[in-house]
Point group: C2
Chain length 525, copies 2
């Protein structure tokens, strides 16, 4: 999750002012609506040391009616708290209906310290219970780089007035930044639920962070109020439908509902997208000679590794997604031509057939999970749920929002059983796609590859980009990562894919062999 | 859970026949409705060795249309299965819409073998995902006693034709029956969710078990079909409300919905209740002399233990529930008069005030959890959610069904933090209650204790009994047990309560002291 975030983002002062002008009246209205509707709101701030939690909370509360919110600073438990079950101090501090509680650090501190599955399950139960009884939970994680953190600590230490704010454990975090990334990542992914999702905020530039937070909180509160309005209206409709007045009531409720749906479907400001695709350097390329040489080496190596993989009974799942004409087919071919045909299966994913449609959407992918020692290559994948199905309305908003956690769960089941899982996004830019489409249209033997649907999808480039952006951040996990492939140059893309696969298998074989040696040593003891 | 089940239940042949006559046409209709509505159904059979899973499945499928169901026997994974992630063989065997899959053993086998939190969380995710996409999941656990199991194994072994069916691991289970009860209990409670609840079936008498299973499955399928009908009707209503025809449509859908609600609210056949209250022996009594002597001893001991508890920082939560005039007040008084008034708090629970009502229903109980070394006595408790709130309609069916897991979660948070948690149900019979009510009315100084509401509640005795029955089975956990107090004789009841509390604290202190010694020994090393 965190490694996909572009930390260089910033925003100019004027742009910030303009945005503030638009959002401040909206958040004020949203606060009044949530109060009137009795929606309790919890806003959680977590993040790196010196990432600016205090500052950002200070900025967020500026426009809010002070009679309606409260900021709670969570430190180590005091004696009273220490003597009670851990969640006591959070349960007792849940806001009443219609009020906002902002937490400067929260119940997540403990999960980080204990690294225990138990803490995560207790937290999830807590949030789930509150959310299902109508609480709005907004969780914000402020993210900065190791370098930025170091710079901030040094600046704080240089000033005698702020020197005390940097403690030895802060420097400890900076030193072990990489380990902390892993821990944060595990925690964020494990607790990113549809009923209480995380928003990772790029916090290098304070204005950018403030704007994204204001935007996130405003929209979450608006959505919650819209949803409640629609629910109330629907309830009313059902109740009064039997009575004479049904007609008008229902019409208006339908409108409210449609308006609400439209609202939540609306594309968010592009400036607050994670920008994972925008971050891919598309200028990478290789000459034909470089390509041929590298390919030969990698394919030979892969052929060898494929046997080893079989010997060590390691199953491998490779998922390919990408823009139309992004080069999925070519990349897959460069893998399969290197290996024994009895050891792999390519699984193309089209729209589900009748039997597949009659099952849960993940059923057909579970069905094709490879056995130990085998390789399954998916040409398009289960991620259709959060791309085409989301965009075309083939599933409900509730369904695709739930899908991120469901997919993470499925891939975690696979990796826990020993599977290597890698997902590739074949990335090209819009111009390159047009060039390739035109080439396909003008080359008789390639014409079958291009259909009207490709052009229709191309028209939805921006909304697809938004979906991919969400998807990559929410489902790139340490054990089942997304690899964003620089695809404008086909040679470069193919080599990047081959290299990634070879490295992943090699790394895993090393681990297996180490394990084997250890076991042997134990036996000999 | 399992220790609250009365295994002596049986049913006569004629009664069984009569029941079958009523239920068979209903399950057949329910099957047709589920098929037409596209509801996939999964029925899981788990239970002790020789509890009769095969027989019961055979009986259940008799009335079903064979074109619509399939029985899947789950053995140890075969080679194909062994080479894939554990859940693969279950995912791939989920039924298509409108079909029924019956599992003879299931994904629960693994959770028992591995005893791992991971397996339970994977299972819960699996069931949750299926349920939220519309699957009906019915889980049946066949329960028999150690003695009954032994008898059945011996009978099977005596017949050469069935001798092979008893394996050494079966006898192993019988020998370690008590340990298995603990394991089953933990598993059943951990996976008893509103979206996939367990039904424990008393399987000593095959007819009784068959009838209860037929009844459970029939009603679950009827409820699922009703719910889907109501949803479809509500959807229709909202959709068409804008059109002219809205009026009639809505009225009929409202009727469907009301009918559905009425159906699910209806009292279940009393013959299939768990009967935990019916199992309490209410003839227990003590003479005044016995009582005085025991009370003195126990109260002295409790006074001492209360100090030790404080020294060892053990928090204690005692919850009191019971029939009106069941003797809660008297039992609480015999505890408090024995101990230092600075170390306990009695928390009476009335209907929630405005502030409490503006929070989650568990908030006010979290607020009162005692600190380490202290004792909190709740006169009526958080269980109001699944009794008075359920009965009076103060919360929705969805809410009280979810509450069992939420309450178990809360108590588990407390016990994980070191709390002793005990819940008492002060049980008396209806005659005894009437006697006490009349006495109160006729004794001037006791008249304040009796109100019209008491008489109103008394009129709902049967439905209360049903709720208590569900509640005790679903929330009696090894670490936070329900104690059913034999309350017709006040002396006996008070001594039972005092004894339970003393024993629980003593047991815990022993553990703490053992721990202390071990730590000391370690330090000295």
């Amino acid at each position: 999750m965190l490694d996909k975030i572009d930390l260089a983002k910033k925003i100019g002062k004027d742009e910030y002012k303009k945005l503030e002008e638009e959002l401040v009246p909206r958040i004020q209205l949203a606060q009044r609506r949530c109060k009137a509707l009795g929606i309790p709101v919890m806003i959680v701030f977590e993040g790196w040391g010196a990432s600016g939690k205090g500052t950002q909370i200070g900025r967020l509360i500026q426009p809010l009616d002070p009679r309606g919110f409260k900021v709670l600073t969570v430190k180590s438990p005091n004696e009273e708290e220490y003597m009670r079950p851990f969640m006591w101090r959070f349960w007792t501090r849940t806001p009443a209906n219609g009020r906002i509680h902002i937490f400067d650090k929260s119940w997540y501190e403990r999960a980080l310290l204990e690294h225990k599955e138990h803490a995560v399950s207790e937290i999830t139960a807590f949030e789930n219970q509150l959310a299902s009884s109508g609480y709005l939970i907004i969780k914000i994680f402020l993210h900065i780089s190791k370098k930025e953190q170091k710079k901030r600590f040094e600046k704080l230490e240089a000033d005698p007035a702020t020197k005390w704010r940097v403690a030895p454990h802060d420097w400890e975090q900076n030193k072990k930044y990489k380990d902390w990334v892993d821990d944060y990542d595990k925690l964020l992914i494990g607790t990113d639920k549809d009923f209480a999702p995380w928003t990772v905020v790029e916090a290098t530039d304070s204005n950018y962070a403030a704007a994204k937070i204001l935007d996130t909180v405003t929209k979450a509160m608006e959505d919650a109020a819209d949803k409640k309005d629609a629910e109330n209206a629907a309830k009313e409709t059902l109740k009064e439908a039997a009575a004479k007045a049904a007609e008008e009531k229902a019409a208006s409720s339908e409108e409210t509902k449609e308006a609400a749906e439209e609202k939540t479907e609306s594309t968010r400001d592009r400036r607050f997208m994670n920008g994972v695709l925008a971050g891919v350097d598309l200028t990478m390329s290789l000459t034909r000679e470089e390509y041929k040489e590298k390919r030969k080496k990698l394919q030979d190596r892969l052929g060898y590794l494929h046997n080893e993989m079989y010997k060590y009974r390691i199953p491998v799942v490779l998922g390919f997604e990408g823009w139309d004409a992004g080069g999925k087919g070519g990349a897959i071919k460069r893998i399969t031509e290197a290996i024994d045909s009895r050891g792999y299966e390519v699984c193309p994913t089209a729209s589900p057939n009748d039997i597949e449609r009659a099952h849960n959407y993940l059923w057909r992918f579970w069905d094709k999970v490879p056995k130990a020692g085998h390789l399954a290559i998916f040409d398009r994948t289960w991620y259709g749920r959060v791309m085409v199905e989301r965009i075309e309305g083939f599933c409900t908003e509730e369904e695709w929002k739930r899908a991120y956690a469901e997919i993470n769960q499925m891939e975690a089941s696979w990796t826990a059983a020993g599977c290597i899982v890698i997902k590739f996004w074949l990335h090209i830019d819009k111009d390159e796609q047009e060039r390739r489409f035109m080439e396909r249209m003008n080359t008789p033997e390639k014409q079958w590859k291009i259909t009207d649907e490709d052009w229709r999808n191309r028209a939805k480039w921006d909304i697809y980009e938004e979906c991919v952006d969400d998807m990559v951040v929410k489902t790139s996990t340490p054990k089942a990562p997304w690899i964003l492939v620089s695809g404008n140059d086909k040679y470069y893309a193919r080599i990047q894919v081959l290299e990634t696969v070879v490295e992943a298998i090699e790394k895993r074989l090393e681990e297996e062999k180490k394990k084997e040696l250890l076991e042997k040593a134990k036996e000999e003891d």
